[in-house]
């Protein structure tokens, strides 16, 4: 936990610094008669964020915050495994949307999760993996007219567009 507190504060401080640099691309000073320039608002927010991180780091050094005293692991083995599997499968799923589209990526993700993490029976897995995308299609594409990304599988949907739209 102690290390995690340190690493998180450092990462957030780095982000604050990046934010300040990025804001400085616009005027951050006081424009006479008009008030702050376009970059001032985020620039000073970044500065306050930096101070907050500094305070967290100081408490870490002094060992005066609960996290900096805790010797409990930030993530135990089970949690870490869960975090990597779920986070990883989500990343793969979202990445795959660019290529095979939502309607192939989602069922694959659902199948993976239900079968390998949930150990559910195949009929249930198949049921959820089919109903979720079908519902999504009718709800978003037909009712809301919001097209979801389909990657190279787009031509497969032309007949469906012809029928429903």
């Amino acid at each position: 936990m102690r290390t995690a507190e340190l690493v998180m504060a450092l990462c957030l401080a780095a982000f604050s610094a990046y934010l300040m640099i990025k804001s400085a691309e616009l005027p951050i000073g006081w424009i006479p008669g008009e008030g702050p320039g376009g970059g001032a608002f985020p620039f000073w927010l970044g500065a306050v964020m930096m101070l907050c991180c500094a305070s967290t780091l100081y408490k870490w050094y002094r060992r005066s915050s609960p996290q900096s005293l805790s010797s409990e692991p930030y993530m135990d083995k089970d949690t870490l495994r869960m975090f990597i599997t779920i986070g990883g499968s989500l990343t793969v799923m979202i990445g795959a949307i660019h290529f095979i589209g939502v309607y192939f990526s989602l069922p694959l993700f659902l199948m993976f999760y239900l079968r390998f993490l949930g150990r559910h029976s195949w009929p249930l897995v198949a049921g959820v993996a089919i109903i979720t995308p079908v519902f999504t299609f009718f709800f978003f594409e037909i009712a809301l007219l919001k097209t979801l990304p389909k990657g190279f599988t787009e031509p497969l949907f032309y007949p469906l567009y012809d029928i429903f739209l």
Binding site: M1, A4, E5, M8, L12, K22, S23, L26, W30, I31, P32, G33, E34, G35, P36, G38, G39, F41, P42, L45, G46, V48, M49, C52, C53, S55, T56, S65, Q67, Y74, D78, T79, M82, F83, I86, G87, L90, T91, M93, I94, I97, V102, L106, F109, L110, Y113, L114, G118, R119, H120, L124, V128, T132, T136, F139, A143, L144, K146, L148, P149
Partner: protein
């Protein structure tokens, strides 16, 4: 009298078939969401908001408000049956609800929670009806300086009363505001904060991307971690005879109910407080004023009644500043506010003049939602108990899928889906280190309103900062905000002079 006329008009809107249907549907969905361990109103509203683009804006807001209401009722169900709070707002309900269930009185606890929620909800909606119009009238005189001062006060309440680490709270507020500044500079129109020069940042960061990331993906990761291992489910036997004896016993706690309702309502109005501390405070007061404080925590029915009446009252209370001033009182109302801005129903005093029908329709729908939530809750207790048996490994992937689709729909840009995933994962990691995340969500919703208000004020005053202090209303609010910001310093000094540390703030 005028208020009654407006309310009657509101009921005409609320009882339109579509709206009434959505109230009932929303209550049911909300009850289910609330009943699931870990999921509460804020998660339901964030994940389902993209789906409400299907219906007209008024109906969409009514639907979301009904979910909010239903989830407040439903939170008690898993608190009592599993001992796991259905949402953070129902934490206090576990203290006595769980012992009651373990003693075989689960039905009594569930009914007490439903009745208390109903009383809390009804009292607070009546208070809401009475307070909203005059407050909106006062707020009509507000200009950009007052608006900005109010937002500063909202953020200051988080620092002063939030009870979390001050530096981490402040960080959360600032990062939310900074993320809201991404896109085009509102005054000069120049591109601003285009991180890594990715074109996806030109259209800014939609508040839903952060809200779904944190309350959808982050929350699910959190829940999967917390709900590891097996939990024991209590049994509930329901019969009419038991229902009547239970109601008799519950009716004896009317004083506690009234106390919880009023307390919850006023705590709910404060921006940082909301339903969770409201419920904890009501529990504390019920315990300390009881004749038999020792029986609390061992299954005292008043220990269920107090927090449940308070959390429902608080959820209505938090709608008051959101609708009249445009300052949300809770994360859920912050997301509602963001949604309303998308639909062109910008909250604030003008809403009461320009969209009278919508405002009163919404208020009337709260009365209806309250009643339906009670009826559905009591009639379908067995169904909700079945939901609790549903394994989380089925629910979680479906919710992840909804998050991905819901994150894509508002802007139709894959860039936002990636961003949502990052927010979800980073949010989860930050939450593990006790960074509060609600302030960030509030800030990203308020940021696009706060920055123009500040800069317009300053342009109006030719760059004179004193404009925020010279005007009587803005000045008063600013002074309160500064006092709230200094609260942690006062506390530190007090603690240093006292040998004994003060009582801990409920988180």
């Amino acid at each position: 009298m005028e208020i009654l006329n407006l309310l009657v008009g509101g009921f005409a809107v609320a009882f339109e078939p579509l709206n009434l249907g959505l109230v009932i549907f929303g209550c049911t969905v909300g009850l289910f969401i609330g009943a699931m361990p870990g999921l509460g109103s804020v998660n339901g509203v964030a994940i389902l908001l993209p789906m409400t683009f299907l219906v007209p804006p008024t109906s969409a807001v009514i639907f979301l408000a009904a979910i909010y209401y239903g989830a407040m009722y439903g939170g008690a169900i898993s608190s009592i049956m599993l001992g796991i709070p259905g949402a953070s707002t129902a934490v206090a309900t576990t203290f006595d609800g769980r012992p009651l269930a373990l003693k075989g009185h689960a039905d009594k606890a569930l009914i007490a929670a439903a009745v208390a929620s109903f009383v809390g909800g009804t009292i607070s909606v009546i208070l809401f009806t009475a307070f909203a119009p005059p407050l909106a009238e006062v707020a009509l005189a507000f200009g950009p300086p007052e608006g900005f001062a109010l937002m500063i006060m909202a953020f200051a309440t988080f620092v002063g009363l939030g009870g979390d680490d001050v530096a981490k709270t402040l960080f959360s507020i600032c990062i939310g505001l900074a993320l809201s500044a991404v896109g085009l500079d509102i005054i000069s129109g120049e591109p601003r904060l285009i991180f890594f020069d990715l074109p996806g940042f030109f259209h800014g960061i939609n508040f839903l991307v952060l809200a779904i990331g944190i309350y959808g993906i982050g929350e699910m990761l959190w829940t999967v971690e917390v709900s590891k291992g097996n939990v024991e489910m209590s049994k509930a036997t329901v019969s009419v005879a038991r229902l009547i004896t239970a109601l008799k016993e519950i009716s004896k706690t009317w004083k506690t109910m009234l106390m919880g309702s009023f307390l919850g309502y006023f705590v709910g109005i404060l921006p940082a407080a909301g339903a969770t501390p409201g419920a904890l405070m009501a529990y504390g007061i019920a315990k300390s004023t009881a004749k038999d404080p020792d029986s609390f925590g061992k299954g005292n029915i008043a220990g269920v009644v107090a927090p449940e009446s308070a959390n429902n009252a608080a959820s209505t209370g938090s709608m008051l500043p959101m609708l009249t001033l445009g300052i949300p009182g809770s994360p859920t109302t912050a997301i509602l506010l963001g949604g309303m801005v998308i639909w062109g129903l910008e909250p604030g005093p003008l809403l009461f003049i320009n969209h009278t029908e919508f405002v009163w329709g919404l208020i009337a729908s709260l009365y209806a939602a309250n009643l339906f939530a009670l009826l559905i809750n009591i009639a379908f207790i067995p169904a909700f108990i079945m939901v609790l048996k549903m394994p989380f490994t089925i629910l979680a992937p479906i919710i992840f899928s909804l998050c991905v689709v819901g994150g894509y729909v508002p802007t139709q840009d894959m860039h936002d889906v990636w961003l949502m995933l990052i927010f979800g994962i980073v949010g989860y990691l930050m939450r593990k280190l006790d960074y509060p995340l609600a302030p960030a969500v509030l800030a990203i919703v308020l940021g696009p309103i706060a920055e123009p208000a500040m800069r317009q004020s300053l342009i109006g005053s030719h760059g004179d900062v004193m404009i925020f202090f010279n005007r009587p209303i803005a000045g008063t609010i600013m002074v309160i905000a500064i006092l709230l910001l200094l609260m942690p310093v006062f506390k530190m000094i007090r603690d240093r002079y006292k040998s004994k540390p003060g009582p801990g703030q409920p988180v």
